[in-house]
Amino acid sequence: MQNQEEGIIKIKNLNKWYGDFHVLKDINFNCNKKEKIVICGPSGSGKSTLIRCINYLENYQKGSIEVNNILLSENHNVIQKVRRQVSMVFQQFNLFPHLTILQNLTLAPIWVNHATKKEAEETAKYFLERVHISEQADKYPGQLSGGQQQRVAIARSLCMKPQVMLFDEPTSALDPEMISEVLDVIIELAEEGMTMLVVTHEMGFARKIADCVCFMDGGEIIEKNNPEDFFNNPENERSKLFLKQIIQN
C-alpha cells in the first residue's frame, strides 16, 4: 500500500539500548508525505524515544533513519540538515522563559535561517494568528496558561517551516480543560496537509486525524493499522488490552 519512493521518513531495523536495556527493538517504519501517524502504547514502551531518534535528540546503536532522502548519521552537518526538515513539539512546551512570545518565535528564524527581524516578526505574527494567540505576543511564557504555552510552542515549530512535525505527548502536561484548545490547533494543521507523527494518549483525537495508528509495547511496533480497524477490531491481544484500559478510564 505504501509507496517507498514517497516515504519522507524511512526507518529500518532501528535498535537502541540504554546500557543493557533494549528500548527499541528492530523498528521498521515508513511515513509518507502528508500522512498523519499516531503512535500509542503504554508508558515505557519506547514511543517517545522513537520519535526523538528521528531528529537525533537520542542516538541509536543499530539501524538507519532516512528523512526526506537524507540518511541520518552522527555527523554534525547531517544532523543539522535533518533538523531543518523536522521540528518537534514537546510535552513540557520548553519555551524560553527569558524571552517574550514574539522573541521565542523569531529567535531561530533570525539566528539559524538568517531572516531579517522584520520578516521573522511577520512570519511569527502570522503563525500566532493561526494558533489563535496573537494578542499575547509581548508577554512572557510564564504569564500564559499551559494550553496557551503549548500553542505558542506549535507556532514556534511552524516558524521553521518544517516538512514534518513531531509531537511528543503534546497534551500530557496540560490541565484537562486546556487539552481541546491544543488538539484543535493540531487538527487544523492536519487538515491543511502537514505531515505529522504524534505520540498521544488521546484516543478520540487519534481516531480523528490518524491515517495510520502504530501500537507499541516493550520497544516493538506490535500493530500498525488504519484507525477504523485498530479501534474497532484490533488484531493483537495486547492492543485489545490497552484499548480496554484506556477506554475504561
Binding site: N55, L57, Q80, R83, R84, V86, S87, M88, F90, Q92, N94, L95, F96, P97, H98, L107, A108, W111, V112, Y140, P141, G142, Q143, R156, M160
Partner: protein
C-alpha cells in the same frame, strides 16, 4: 487574685491593639523573652551612648594638628580631612589629581547610565558593552598617561604610585570584569563531556586556583614570578597582582556559574537543539542568559567578597584603600588615630558593598519573568 487570674490578664495584654499589644506580644511574651529583652536593653545602653559620645558629641571636627585632639576622648575626624587625599588617591602626585577625579567621574557616569533608566534598554546594552571593552583602556591611559610605551598625557605616573580608593576600585572592578569571561569558559568547559581534554584541564585549573589562598597567589605574583621570568623582563606589579586576582576569582565564578548551568532543565537544550541552534548560539542566546539570571546572588556575593579581599594586596606593598588609611596613621604627626582610620575605611567599604547588594536585589526583581 489567684495566680491563674493574673496570668490570664497578662495573656490578654498581648491581644491589645497598638504599641502596648505589640510590646507584650513580641518582647514580653514569656519569662525567657522578658529576660532577653531587658538584657538587650542593657547592652544597647552600654553601646549606643558610648558610640554617640565618641563619634559625635566628644568628637573634634576641626583643628590644625594632633594636639587639638589629645584630651577630648572622642574621635578626631579632622585627621580624616587632613589625610583625605592619601586615603582616596594614595601617592598619586597632588598636582595631577584631576586625572583620578576624571576616572571617578567616568565610573560614576557609567554606573548611573547602566543602573538607572536614563537610557532606553537598547542604548543601555550598547553603552554597557562599549564601556566594558573601552573603559579599562581609557582609565589606564588617564591614570598612567601612556599606553604601550606611547606617552599621551604628561607626566607618566607609574602604577606604583596609584593607591587608595582608586586602586581598590581598579583591582576589584578590573578583577570581576576580566574574570567573568574566563569563568564562563571554565564552567562550560567543565561540563563538556565530549571533549575530555578540555574538561579535565578546566577541572584541574579550577581545583588548583580554588585550593590556594589568595595571599599565596599575590605573594607568588609579586615576588616569585619576577625571579622565574627571564632576566630583564619588566612586568608591572599592579598587572601581576591583577592577573593573580583574576585567575583566582575566575575559578570561583566558574563554580558559581556551573551551579546555575545545572539548574537549567534539559528541555531547554533539547528545544534549542531541535530548532537547529549551534552550540555557541544555544549557549549565548538560551542557556547563559537564564543561567546568569539565576546566579546573580552568587556572583554579587563573590564580588563583594573580592572587593574586600583586595585589601590583601597590602602584604605585597601596595597601598589600597585600607592600607592607605592605616598607613596615614604611621605619620609621626598622626600616630594613635588608627580607630578613626579603620572606621572611615569601613564606612567606604560598607557603602560600596551595600550599594552593590541593593542593586542586585533590584536586578533580580526586574529580570523575573515568571509571573
Amino acid at each position: 487574685m489567684k495566680l491563674s487570674e493574673i496570668n490570664h490578664k497578662y495573656q490578654n495584654l498581648q491581644y491589645r491593639k497598638g504599641v502596648v499589644g505589640w510590646i507584650f506580644k513580641n518582647l514580653l511574651s514569656s519569662p525567657l523573652n522578658i529576660l532577653l529583652t531587658f538584657f538587650s536593653i542593657y547592652l544597647l545602653y552600654l553601646i549606643i551612648p558610648a558610640t554617640i559620645n565618641w563619634a559625635i558629641l566628644d568628637a573634634v571636627w576641626q583643628g590644625k594638628s594632633n594636639k587639638d585632639c589629645d584630651f577630648s576622648g572622642g574621635a578626631c575626624w579632622f585627621f580624616i580631612d587632613a589625610r583625605f587625599n592619601t586615603i582616596i588617591y594614595g601617592f598619586y602626585p597632588q598636582e595631577y589629581l584631576w586625572r583620578p577625579n576624571l576616572v571617578f567621574a567616568i565610573l560614576a557616569i557609567s554606573i548611573l547610565a547602566v543602573t538607572t533608566n536614563i537610557l532606553s534598554a537598547k542604548l543601555k546594552i550598547r553603552f554597557g558593552v562599549t564601556a566594558l571593552i573601552t573603559l579599562p583602556f581609557i582609565i589606564f591611559i588617564i591614570l598612567k598617561g601612556s599606553i604601550f610605551g606611547i606617552e599621551i598625557l604628561h607626566p607618566i605616573v607609574d602604577t606604583g604610585k596609584w593607591g587608595g580608593l582608586i586602586l581598590t576600585l581598579i583591582l576589584s572592578l578590573g578583577g570581576i570584569m576580566l574574570c567573568f569571561p574566563l569563568g564562563i569558559m571554565l564552567a562550560l568547559g567543565r561540563r563538556c563531556d565530549s571533549m575530555p581534554i578540555v574538561k579535565y584541564f578546566c577541572i584541574a585549573f579550577i581545583e588548583f586556583w580554588r585550593g590556594v589562598p589568595l595571599i599565596t597567589i599575590l605573594f607568588m605574583a609579586a615576588i616569585m614570578l619576577p625571579l622565574l621570568l627571564p632576566e630583564g623582563t619588566q612586568f608591572d606589579k599592579l598587572g601581576r597582582a591583577l592577573i593573580g586576582i583574576v585567575l583566582f576569582e575566575a575559578a570561583y565564578i566558574a563554580e558559581v556559574i556551573r551551579g546555575g548551568l545545572q539548574a537549567i532543565p534539559r528541555g531547554q537544550y533539547e528545544a534549542a537543539d531541535s530548532l537547529n541552534l549551534t552550540y555557541w548560539k544555544k549557549t549565548g542566546l538560551i542557556i547563559m542568559p537564564q543561567t546568569l539570571k539565576l546566579v546573580i546572588p552568587g556572583i554579587v556575593n563573590n564580588f563583594i567578597a573580592l572587593l574586600k579581599d583586595t585589601s590583601l594586596v597590602s602584604i605585597i606593598g601596595m597601598w589600597d584603600l585600607l592600607n592607605s588609611a592605616i598607613g596615614s596613621t604611621r605619620d609621626p604627626k598622626w600616630i594613635g588615630f588608627i580607630i578613626e582610620a579603620y572606621v572611615f575605611a569601613g564606612i567606604i567599604y560598607w557603602i560600596m558593598c551595600f550599594g552593590t547588594s541593593k542593586y542586585s536585589q533590584h536586578l533580580e526583581k526586574k529580570l523575573n519573568t515568571t509571573n
